[in-house]
């Protein structure tokens, strides 16, 4: 069976280019210009998938991106992509597609049993059944996901490349149909920069699927060519506008090489993500035909009327020789004519009793039998339509009565009218209004969002006739460029005369739910309005009975309008059926707000090129290459890569950290401290400013001296800390935590600019201007003396002071400050000398057993001294008093940031959690950071938490484990024993101690 449904001629396909592809393992051929959907249909393949919930056999509904059923697992391995719509996949040679949601095969699916037990799977079934007991949800969910699944995600890394780019334009036109082409053409007649975007491979929109009207076709071709030749115009075919955000910011995905097949894109990306800022937006998004809701209207072969026309006209595929057209409006008459012209036997079933004589005459001319005032009462065939029964419809449309006819057919082309694609307007914040004449929601221009100026034109505005679309588009294009300050020029637009192609939808008589001989929800048949989510009219009745009357409740209860098609074909039918049940008008039921994306998009496209190594920028210190050579293992601190530890051969992390930690206290170690935040502060009011920023006194700090400071927010909580040095009368060098540098600079700027703009203070980030080596350990002075001309004696250069001089021949500022409690010097040199300093020290340090140490050893060393790390030992709820750091809070300053909050009752209470040391009874047990200190150990949670471990290590210097933690009323509890409950259920006992474990008197640091 090779392309048995392909017509001998016609369509926009290239019959000379035969393409091979497989579906469910079976080989087929198609032509260049086909979609996967049209190629399958050409081969007579109508059963394409199983439905989401009931596993009912499903086939194509549509020919465009609104397709709810024909979801494919495209390609294998790393290239596989689930839930792709067969209607949107351009056929390429070697394409591999598989159906979804069936087991073991598409023809025989075990899950189809769900259909027979449908009465036990009503709307809200999952909510009702599986919400209790809540603890079992995790168990149920796995099975539900498997049973009601769609496609399968790839498990291998994505081999494709994606790009993203920014663009600006004066006029962005969404949709390349007649209205959009006219708008772009009119706009391009000025000097404005115009972008025209369309999701299809060719411009022309609905005309591509309609029977050719020569004057329209030639105008489409000519205007597309003219736009392509215009340098002010960017044409983006195969591109979907996915989101419309504030201030006319829109995103779009361009499928650059998808149509070539996986791996065939060469150097071009697979997809490109556009982020576009437009002065004016012309929305010409067209409309989507909606199905009639009738008994078993989901059988494969029951399609939208325009889809049947498109397969005939655009792809040269006549899906069956016997076609029934079922409609409540004029537009489907075009399909009847298209099918009849292609040789099919066509029967027209129109629910309307009265139809224009002209339409009847056209049908007679094409030998189409016409039934007016009739409706389909039932469908025969499960895996494909075999016949339909039709019966006369009562005048009120609520029942069927009288003579039934059975008509053999393989295709039912049906139309319930056209729903304007208001997605973009709705996303832009505009509100909709209901237009009774077309039975659909259209944009209300009076309720457009002012910050998103633009126009809706053509079918998405409720104008369906091609001539109206062109006229509206051209006018909007002119208005758009004029609004941007350009002079619009008149562009000739075609005159359209063909009556059949110029009436648009014509008259429509709404029939939202086609009755059967049974009441809704009874009898064996199902009336689907939402195919993708398997929601039926009976489900809407159930929702109404159970009180879910509002559109938002209806949507969530029945899941109508959800999933990957977002209800493109179903939303209005659902609203209308609910309105009928409630006896309300459709606008009273309301409509849901459309949200991005318009169609599904890949994470790859969103990520663009910012993946893998480009995902996050890395900051490297000037000595980074030295660390790499020294075998450093790095850790991330903010964006910085900091050496974590430097393992020698055969060492694991623990061994390396223990060695480094011991070495610093016995000999000397060096740490790359360049990442420390550094802010240069100058100005006549700098000292006064620091008095407000820090808790302690700064005015009396002598030039050349350093002081530790705590910064609080206005809540009185610790927010950063660091050492600041007075370099001159009005000049300070502030250091911050490595991760807090930007935050602190923002904080200083905020106060200077918004509260004290009169103060003469200037802050400059100099973090990256200085390379810093921290030399720590008893031999630090002896080592530094071999390289420096600075007098390092403790009299000349005491603890907490700074001296300038030469180190290793480099001009340096040396700060005698210590984060380990050892004799220490932090050598600052201009960044460009960092590597030279590091390498010189490394060489000079050999006789002193100099070791490199990383951040982990630094953490152990500082914790041994009880030095906190802001953000590890504090969490934004900790005051200086909680840290037992009252010594750093001035009692004499009238004010500083956060001071007043100390008096707040909660801050002032004396049973807050406070910093303590913790020594486990078993010295080999290293507590887990975050472990809870509990009032009383019980067999199982809950237990009353009275504190937590914030830092915990094994110390080679203490020869045991130790920890810091926050404990309720901890300062008064030193010497007590507390219980900790670990995550694995173990209970551990620990002694509460002072947080300083080494050199409590501070002899070493001053030595």
């Amino acid at each position: 069976m090779s392309q048995s449904c392909r017509l001998d001629s016609g369509g926009r396909i290239d019959r000379s280019k035969v393409l091979q592809f497989t579906f469910d393992g079976k080989s087929y051929t198609g032509f260049k210009g086909d979609t996967l959907a049209s190629a399958l249909l050409a081969n007579g393949v109508k059963l394409l998938g199983r439905s989401f919930k009931y596993h009912r056999p499903r086939g194509l509904i549509a020919a465009g991106s609104e397709e709810p059923n024909a979801l494919m697992q495209l390609e294998n391995g790393a290239y596989t992509e689930p839930n792709t719509r067969a209607t949107c996949i351009e056929l390429y040679d070697g394409l591999v597609a598989n159906s979804q949601n069936r087991w073991p095969s598409l023809g025989f699916d075990v899950g189809a049993i769900n259909s027979s037990v449908a009465r036990f799977l009503p709307a809200g079934f999952y909510y009702k059944t599986f919400m209790w007991p809540a603890s079992m949800w995790m168990t149920y969910e796995k099975f539900i996901r498997k049973a009601a699944g769609l496609g399968v995600s790839p498990t291998e890394p994505d081999p494709d490349v994606y790009h993203s780019r920014y663009a600006t334009c004066d006029v962005l036109v969404i949709g390349g149909g007649p209205a959009g082409l006219a708008a772009a053409t009119a706009a391009a007649g000025s000097d404005a920069r115009v972008m025209l975007i369309d999701e299809q491979s060719e411009f022309g929109g609905s005309t591509l699927g309609a029977a050719a009207v020569p004057e329209v076709a030639s105008w489409v071709a000519a205007s597309t060519a003219a736009l392509a030749a215009n340098n002010n115009v960017t044409l983006l075919p195969r591109t979907t506008v996915t989101g419309y955000f504030d201030y006319n910011y829109l995103t779009a995905v361009e499928k650059v090489t998808d149509h070539l097949g996986p791996g065939n894109g060469g150097t071009a990306p697979r997809q490109r993500f556009w982020k576009i800022r437009a002065s004016r937006v012309v929305i010409a998004a067209g409309s989507i035909e909606r199905p009639l809701v009738f008994a078993d209207n989901d059988r494969p072969g029951i399609m939208l009327a325009n889809a049947v026309s498109t397969y005939i006209n655009r792809f040269g595929v006549l899906p069956d020789q016997n076609i029934v057209v079922f409609t409540n409006n004029d537009s489907a008459y075009r399909t009847a004519v298209d099918a009849a012209r292609s040789g099919a036997t066509v029967t027209m079933v129109d629910t309307r009793a009265e139809v224009s004589a002209e339409l009847t005459r056209v049908l007679q001319q094409h030998k189409v039998k016409q039934f007016t005032g009739h409706a389909i009462s039932s469908v025969q065939g499960t895996k494909g339509v075999k016949a339909v029964r039709i019966m006369p419809l009562s005048a009120d449309g609520k029942s069927l009565q009288g003579q039934a006819w059975e008509i053999n057919c393989g295709i039912v082309a049906n139309s319930g009218g056209w729903t304007p694609s208001v997605h973009m307007f709705s996303q832009s914040g505009g509100k909709l209004q209901y237009d009774n004449s077309i039975e659909g929601f259209v944009p209300d221009p009076a309720k457009a969002k002012r910050i998103n100026p633009g126009f809706s034109v053509g079918a998405c505005n409720g104008s369906f006739a091609t001539g109206d679309c062109i006229a509206e588009g051209a006018q909007a294009g002119r208005q758009a460029v004029e609004a941007c300050g350009f002079v619009a020029s008149d562009v000739a637009m075609p005159e359209l005369t063909d009556a059949l192609n110029d009436t648009g939808m014509g008259g429509i008589a709404a029939l939202w739910l086609v009755p059967t001989v049974h009441p809704v929800g009874e009898g064996p048949a199902k009336h689907f309005h939402d195919f993708q989510n398997d929601v039926t009219a009976a489900d809407i009745h159930l929702a109404a009975r159970e009180g879910y009357l509002s559109v938002e409740h209806l949507k969530r209860y029945t899941t109508t309008g959800m999933a990957t098609d977002q209800g493109k074909t179903s939303n209005l039918n659902a609203l209308a059926i609910m309105a009928e049940i409630r006896g309300a008008q459709i606008p009273e039921v309301g409509t849901t707000t459309f949200r991005p994306p318009f169609t599904p998009l890949t994470f790859g496209a969103i990520g663009g090129q910012e993946s893998k190594d480009l995902f996050l920028q890395e900051r490297h210190t000037p000595m980074h290459q030295c660390h790499v050579q020294n075998n450093a293992v790095f850790e991330d601190v903010g964006d910085w890569k900091r050496p974590w530890y430097f393992p020698h051969s055969g060492e694991d992390m623990h061994a390396a950290v223990q060695r480094e930690t011991l070495s610093v206290r016995t000999d000397v170690g060096m740490l790359d401290a360049s990442t420390l935040g550094k802010i240069d502060i100058q100005g006549a009011d700098a000292a006064e400013f620091l008095e407000m920023i820090y808790t302690n006194n700064w005015k009396k700090l002598a030039i050349g001296n350093c002081r530790y400071g705590l910064m609080l927010n206005e809540h009185g909580m610790i927010f950063d800390d660091g050492v600041t040095t007075r370099l001159g009368e009005h000049h300070y060098h502030m250091t911050t935590t490595s991760g807090g540098a930007a935050r602190v600079l923002n904080w200083l700027e905020e106060w200077l600019q918004t509260e004290w703009p009169e103060k003469q203070v200037y802050c400059t980030s100099v973090t990256e201007q200085w390379a810093v080596v921290a030399l720590n350990g008893p031999k630090a002075r002896d080592l530094l003396a071999t390289l420096s001309d600075i007098d390092l004696s403790k009299e000349a250069f005491p603890f907490m002071s700074m001296r300038e001089g030469q180190v290793a021949g480099i001009p340096a500022r040396v700060y005698r400050i210590s984060f380990t409690g050892e004799l220490a010097y932090e050598i600052n040199v201009p960044a460009r000398f960092g590597r030279q300093l590091w390498e010189t020290l490394q060489e000079a340090g050999k006789p002193f057993n100099l070791c490199h140490y990383g951040t982990e050893a630094m953490h152990v060393l500082r914790a041994e001294k009880g030095f906190i790390i802001v953000g590890q030992d504090t969490d934004g709820t900790v005051t200086p008093a909680d840290m037992d750091m009252d010594w750093i809070v001035s009692k004499t300053k009238p004010d500083f940031l956060g001071k007043r909050s100390f008096l707040r009752s909660d801050t002032a209470r004396d049973d807050r959690q406070q910093l303590v040391g913790l020594l486990t009874t078993d010295p080999t047990v290293v507590l887990m950071e975050g472990a809870h200190i509990v009032q009383e150990i019980k067999d199982a949670p809950p237990m009353t938490t009275i504190g937590r471990v914030t830092s915990s290590y094994m110390s080679p210097n203490l020869e045991r484990s130790f920890a810091l933690g926050m404990l309720k009323n901890g300062l008064a509890r030193k010497g007590e024993t507390v219980q900790l409950s670990l995550m694995n259920g173990d209970a551990v006992e620990a002694l509460v101690t002072d947080p300083v474990f080494i050199d409590k008197e501070g002899v070493r640091v001053r030595g």
Partner: protein, 96 residues
């Protein structure tokens, strides 16, 4: 994604800015003499209106200057931006 007119640089993309909440809240000068309620009002309480809002923005990835904006929190329309210390622009006649 807003376009924000920095009073120093002109129209820029929102990604260059950060918002810092309600504007025109002066830090009290006599903090010691405030009642807990008065201090709490300054530290914790904000108007958070549905509608017109004067708020602080900083051109963080630009000139790094702080300024104020008059924004409708419902429509996100920004009616004015103005420098710290400048007179407050009047509310618009047609705010939405």
């Amino acid at each position: 994604m807003f376009i924000i007119t920095c009073p120093y640089c002109g129209d820029r993309d929102q990604t260059e800015f950060t918002c810092h909440g309600e504007a025109h809240i002066a830090r009290p000068l006599n903090t010691e003499s405030l009642s807990d309620e008065e201090w709490g009002d300054y530290v914790f309480f904000r108007q958070n209106p549905k509608g017109m809002h004067r708020e602080r923005w900083v051109h963080a990835h630009g000139c790094r200057r702080w300024f104020n904006a008059l924004r409708n929190t419902v429509s996100d329309e920004i009616f004015a931006t103005y420098k710290v210390g400048d007179a407050r622009p009047p509310l618009p006649e047609n705010p939405s």
